[in-house]
Symmetry: C2
Subunit: 207 residues, 2 copies
């Protein structure tokens, strides 16, 4: 059955982006360091269209598995705005992306198979639509932190994966806040490690 | 050569204890859940003198390795005060423990080999004494968070291990704050996982 999953890179201290982020400073100060491991990998570079990278290693396989399972993405308005200004024309999703926003805007189709839908509905309705579109594939709650927290607290997420970089950011956008721990709990499903990053895969038990 | 190491259990969101901790509520609200995996293990239960537990598993081996390498501990005053009121008479260290405090007090020898020294010196001098006492064994900076942060920021720590429980505490005593990331960085040394906890072992590169 189709799953709803979160998959996000974090620092040891739980930040998904550094401080002072925005259109001109995507991922904030030092935030790119969270994803250093990912920027080396072929599958990720292919998606961004930025040239060759490493292959035949666990980190690349993990990225490939994530991309392959996604049937539709859901993201917040801020993540979209930051991305719109920085993604290549051929946006790096290559499938449907629902943007949660109050703005009314026609669907925006990009070369390479990404179409952005601007959804003015609540998070439940948008997830229903995304699930229908995804078919047998999965729905990724892409971010940012606020959207991830909303979906977790609503008990709508099945799996939660984090990729922990061995760095301290000290400030920025914190993943682990505004969470209602009475609504869900984590079960460790699998852990995969490499010298650069630790991948923690959890199942979620919703109360 | 003798190492200086930190080894501490945390929640996914980086807390080493819950809120409202103190003599009557050791580890704070929910804080005991961080160590649930540990309380099941024979080696840990033996140290606390609280009866039999599980053995022949990775989690027990990890605890045994930690205890075996310790020649001396260093801890803060608050950790000692909370422990003094709650540890069994046969205190669970079974070696030398330096307590960083302004209080003047004679050494306190417990049955089972634990002796508490009340050190009125700075963190550097206390570490020098502890290293001398530890001989070929290692020195553990036991906690709490403030003492750990002081030793990390002073560039005095060689290894940093965390045992991540798959829980959210949301508030309490945060490990990853007041850290000066310009002073040191982490290198992933090893990761060991179990269904209950993920063990991350780091070497520290001091600048």
């Amino acid at each position: 059955m189709s799953k709803v999953f979160i998959d996000v890179g974090i620092s040891l201290d739980g930040f998904i982006a550094g401080p002072n982020g925005g259109v001109k400073n995507p991922l904030g100060d030092g935030g790119m360091n969270i994803h250093e491991w990912m920027f080396k990998q072929k599958t990720f570079r292919d998606h961004l269209g930025i040239g060759s990278g490493e292959t035949n290693n666990t980190n690349n396989d993990i990225i490939e598995n994530i991309f392959n399972r996604i049937g539709a993405n859901i993201m917040g308005k801020n993540m979209f705005v930051e991305g719109e200004a920085n993604w290549p024309e051929d946006a790096p999703f290559h499938c449907l992306v629902y943007v949660l926003t109050h703005q009314k805007r026609e669907p925006w189709e990009r070369p390479g198979g990404t179409t952005f839908y601007f959804a003015n509905d609540d998070i439940f309705s948008v997830l229903e639509k995304a699930k229908k579109d995804a078919g047998s594939k999965d729905v990724r709650i892409s971010g940012g932190a606020n959207v991830i927290q909303q979906y977790l607290n609503a008990g709508l997420v099945d799996e939660f994966s984090i990729h922990i970089a061995p760095i301290i950011l000290d400030s920025g956008v914190q993943l682990f806040e505004h969470l209602d721990k009475s609504k869900f709990s984590f079960e460790i499903k699998n852990v995969i490690n490499s010298p650069e990053v630790t991948h923690l895969f959890h199942n979620i038990k919703n109360m």
